[in-house]
């Protein structure tokens, strides 16, 4: 049975059709947390986030409080919010920007106050036309309400927020690539070190980059205290989290549930959540954290939804996206499509990623569509090994960013778990499902 007693922290307004308006936001406790934060010392606000142990909700899962404290030595210049949500089958930030834009804006103002920055940018993928309009309206409303601009709510703190549209590039979710895009350039990830924009960020100045969902948690944390947040979940995975459930389930959608207290089985099968597999088929495999993550088989359905728990089994909770494949799904076709995605989205800077993704995609294509050779199966593993030597998890890196080492995840998983399916494709001269 799923554990559904935890409060909704970021999706508390999901039952209101007008949840995106200032009126509804104010009626449901909006901007109370900001007023409270402004009476606290900035480092005390940051201290609550630290106490909450809020792990970044973008994909890497780095503690937000630590990301902030690294900067406190040198004043930080800019806050940049990452709303470029593009990891395939991840759609939880989409929910937040369209349905609760004021919560995001309030979170950004609170974070800006804690960090004492006076200009913040919300970078959102361009395909979110409605999300961009809703967040821009929320920013306009916040200015009119006195929550943004000069001397917010009569305090000594001033802030501007700029809503910035992207233009269609998966790689811009990588934070240094996002900064390049925000500087008006091609979204090429930057060479590391320095590893953190906190050292060298926008225009070379100290910058914090945080995800939309991370920001959206802040009003609740300020209102209720970091300890109340940390009391939810277990271990390093505190609080609740938005999980985006997709694929062959009866009720795909975005669900906010307590971390660790629920398992993949709860999320996929509970009648109040995923509701089970379409047609009550058997589950074949699932991807636990976006297509960059190695796959799991049904034997791991009882694994808790926690960052360390999933890492312990050799994958990642990543972006909070879970994709379910059933016995009717062709895993070879799924792998080919994921590889095609990486091949299209490789920025082209690093040879192993640029060339490797194309070679893998072509080999996957011929296995799926006819013309595959038996030796292609081991060739695929060899190509993967060239991108991420040893095929370990977390992967070894031969490239500037982690897009490259994400490519082998699905190919390696699928061959390891379903080698017979690949063999059947080669022998059949194409996809036997057709």
């Amino acid at each position: 049975m799923a554990s559904l007693d935890a409060p909704r922290i970021v999706s508390s307004r999901r039952d209101f059709t007008d949840s995106f308006t200032l009126t509804r936001y104010l009626e449901t406790g909006g901007y109370v947390a900001l007023r409270k934060a402004l009476t606290m010392f900035p480092e005390a606000v940051a201290g609550e986030v630290d106490a909450a142990s809020l792990l970044g909700r973008g994909g890497a899962g780095f503690p937000a409080g630590r990301k902030w404290s690294m900067l406190r030595k040198s004043p930080i210049s800019y806050l940049v919010v990452n709303g470029d949500e593009s990891e395939p089958a991840t759609f939880k930030d989409h929910y937040l920007v369209e349905r609760d834009p004021h919560q995001l804006v309030e979170g950004v103002i609170i974070a800006s106050y804690a960090l004492q920055v006076n200009q913040a940018f919300i970078f959102m993928r361009g395909e979110f036309a409605l999300g961009l309009e809703r967040v821009q309206q929320a920013v306009n409303d916040a200015y009119a309400h006195g929550a943004l601009g000069s001397k917010i709510f009569g305090s000594d703190f001033s802030l501007d927020i700029v809503v910035h549209p992207g233009a269609g590039a998966y790689i811009c979710g990588e934070e240094t690539s996002l900064i390049e895009a925000l500087e008006g350039k091609r979204g090429f990830p930057r060479i590391k070190p320095p590893f953190f924009p906190a050292v060298t960020g926008l225009y070379g100045e100290p910058t914090v980059v945080n995800n939309v969902e991370t920001m959206s948690n802040l009003p609740w944390i300020v209102n209720n205290g970091g300890a109340a947040f940390a009391a939810l979940g277990a271990g390093r995975s505190t609080g609740t989290r938005l999980f985006a459930l997709a694929g062959r389930v009866k009720n795909p959608g975005v669900y906010e549930i307590e971390m660790v207290k629920n398992t993949f089985r709860d999320l996929i099968y509970d009648p109040k959540l995923g509701g089970g597999i379409i047609g009550d088929k058997q589950i074949k495999a699932f991807i636990p954290g976006g297509v960059s993550a190695p796959w799991f088989g049904p034997e791991l359905l009882d694994l808790p939804l926690g960052q360390d728990e999933v890492a312990g089994e050799g994958s990642m909770l990543g972006s909070g996206s879970i994709v379910v494949m059933d016995e009717t799904s062709c895993v070879v076709r799924a792998t080919w499509r994921i590889t095609k995605f990486f091949s299209r989205e490789s920025c082209g800077q690093c040879t192993p990623c640029r060339e490797g993704s194309g070679w893998i995609e072509r080999a996957m294509y011929r296995i799926e569509h006819g013309g595959g050779r038996m030796e292609d199966i081991d060739l695929l593993l060899d190509l993967c090994d060239n991108i991420a030597p040893g095929l370990t998890w977390p992967p070894q890196q031969t490239t500037i960013c982690v897009l490259g080492p994400s490519i082998p995840s699905s190919v390696h998983s699928a061959i390891k778990m379903f080698r017979d399916d690949f063999v059947a494709h080669v022998e059949h001269g194409g996809c036997p499902h057709e």
Binding site: E127, Y170, L245
Partner: protein
């Protein structure tokens, strides 16, 4: 002579004023150029270069990196059908084929009447309503071939003009004003905040 209409030109200049450096206005301004012309014309690119302090080659080189920018004319409606993992599992490939037949154009091309351009997209982050269809980046939520056909007919008949502006128009809500936190005020606040923090740190020692 400005290629941009006066209202687009004004909005482009307002954009530049929002950023510490003019080049940061590049992506939003390219969206504006597409709003006027439907795609990125040579004249639009030249004007973006002028306003962002770059060259047309730099603008073109940047724009060509991003899927949403079109360097050649496209239809009034750019129809995107996703075939990435969640949509694939919901029959996205077959859906794309159906879309191609209905619109009368192959993937990546424009229908003869110039109304529709069909694209195969990567994940559009609406995976609980797969297969996902966007028209000019508006979610249409037509997950059956029948619903898709009705939508196309409605677009042709102009019944969806209110929901779906012509290609290029991205954000219809305009920013209400420029930056409101005065520079000197912000500079003073940063100095005061730093001093106050150091004083508190000294106290707790």
């Amino acid at each position: 002579m400005s290629h941009f209409r006066s209202d687009i030109r004004q909005r482009a200049e307002e954009l530049v004023a929002l950023y510490p450096r003019p080049r940061s206005a590049m992506l939003p301004m390219l969206h504006l150029a597409q709003e006027q012309d439907g795609y990125l014309s040579d004249e639009g690119i030249a004007e973006v270069a002028e306003l962002t302090g770059t060259t047309p080659a730099e603008v073109r080189g940047t724009a060509s990196f991003y899927d949403m920018f079109h360097l050649e004319p496209v239809g009034k409606y750019v129809v995107g059908v996703c075939t990435n993992i969640a949509c694939l599992l919901a029959g996205g490939e077959e859906f794309l084929e159906h879309a191609s037949t209905k619109l009368g154009c192959s993937v990546g091309s424009t229908s003869e009447d110039g109304l529709f351009t069909l694209e195969e997209t990567e994940c559009l982050a609406d995976c609980d309503r797969a297969p996902v269809v966007q028209v000019n980046h508006r979610y249409m939520r037509t997950t059956t071939p029948e619903a898709f056909d009705t939508m196309v007919d409605d677009l042709r008949a102009g019944k969806l003009d209110h929901d779906v502006p012509p290609h290029g128009t991205l954000i219809r809500v305009r920013r209400s004003a420029g930056l409101r936190a005065p520079r000197q005020e912000v500079a003073d606040q940063r100095v005061a905040a730093k001093a106050a923090r150091e004083a508190r740190a000294e106290e707790t020692k």
